[in-house]
């Protein structure tokens, strides 16, 4: 296959599958899933230090050789998100952040007003901002205009596994995007990941679909295959849909009995 480099903010990532590490029953299970996925970047959350928790997610991710992408999960306001991102930069030595500002607990949908405000503040502070956003083409446009390095629209609410509920909006976001589009959240199974790529997304970010699967490592491999298949299909150019059949066998030379 021809070179198909995936880059964000001028940096190459070796995989179009980004994994969240939330929801796995243990670090060991997460490690096997990461290795099976072939991912090059994993998200982590910033939480209060708990000295009773054994093991370190950072040590595990270092063993896997993947880039660490801190998120601002749990933040409800731009103020909280900015402070959390600044702490993540201090703790992890990266100015990349998956910006997450959600409105409530039962939808976990992004709050667009707080999200855009936080993105502007973080970009002014030197961050490379990858916002988790609604499947709203206008908001995606605004996030690009303020300087986000990617846009990451949801397929469906976090953890639902409902797949991509509004394929039309994802296509609109992709058509207009001048930065990478990462389908983030809502993926349930490998065909959802493939569809995201077929719609033209540059990458897929998922967590629960792998970490809460019965066999996380096997599902991680399935997701990697789904992303790859969808990407190939997107580049290959699918046939147009037709209302009526069109024979693939030649009509010329058909026998007459």
């Amino acid at each position: 296959m021809a070179d198909d480099t995936f880059m964000i903010a001028g940096e190459e990532l070796g995989s179009r599958l980004i994994l969240g590490t939330g929801g796995a029953p243990s670090l060991a299970v997460m490690e096997t899933a990461i290795n099976a996925s072939g991912t090059a970047m994993c998200t982590v959350s910033m939480r209060r230090v708990d000295t009773t928790t054994p093991g370190s997610v950072l040590d595990m991710l270092a063993r896997c050789g993947v880039r660490v992408l801190p998120n601002t999960a749990g933040c409800r306001t731009a103020h909280e998100a900015v402070l959390t991102a600044q702490l993540a930069r201090e703790a992890l030595g990266t100015d990349w952040v998956k910006l997450e500002v959600v409105a409530d607990d039962h939808t976990l949908l992004p709050d667009p007003v707080e999200l855009l405000d936080a993105a502007e503040r973080l970009i002014a502070d030197g961050f490379t901002v990858l916002p988790y956003t609604n499947d709203d083409p206008v908001l995606a446009r605004r996030l690009q205009q303020v300087g986000c390095a990617a846009v990451m629209p949801l397929g469906a609410p976090i953890g639902t596994g409902l797949g991509i509920r509004n394929t039309h909006n994802i296509e609109l976001i992709v058509a207009e995007a001048e930065v990478p589009v990462v389908l983030d959240a809502g993926i349930g199974t490998a065909s959802d990941a493939a569809l995201a790529m077929e719609l033209g997304c540059d990458a897929v970010l998922l967590a629960s679909a792998v970490t809460r699967a019965q066999d996380p490592a096997l599902m991680a491999a399935a997701m990697a295959a789904g992303v790859a298949a969808g990407r190939f299909a997107s580049r290959a150019g699918r046939i147009p849909r037709r209302h009526h059949a069109r024979a693939s066998s030649p009509t010329h030379g058909t026998a007459v009995f």
């Binding site: 969240g20 209060r48 959240a185």
Partner: protein, 66 residues
Amino acid sequence: MTLTVNGKAMQVPAGTTLHQLMVGIVAMGHGTAAAVDGIVAPRSRWENLELHAGQHVEILTATQGG
């Protein structure tokens, strides 16, 4: 004096620096950051940052998350 550290009251000697507090709570390894009264305290300032009674300190690290 009493500080609030990650939401819990903690007694420390007067004049305790953020560096001394951090050493007592977590290994000085990578991956932690602190905010004092809602303002990020860069690691380079921990040594000289003297804490005062009643201050709120949040100490964060990376954990598994989406």
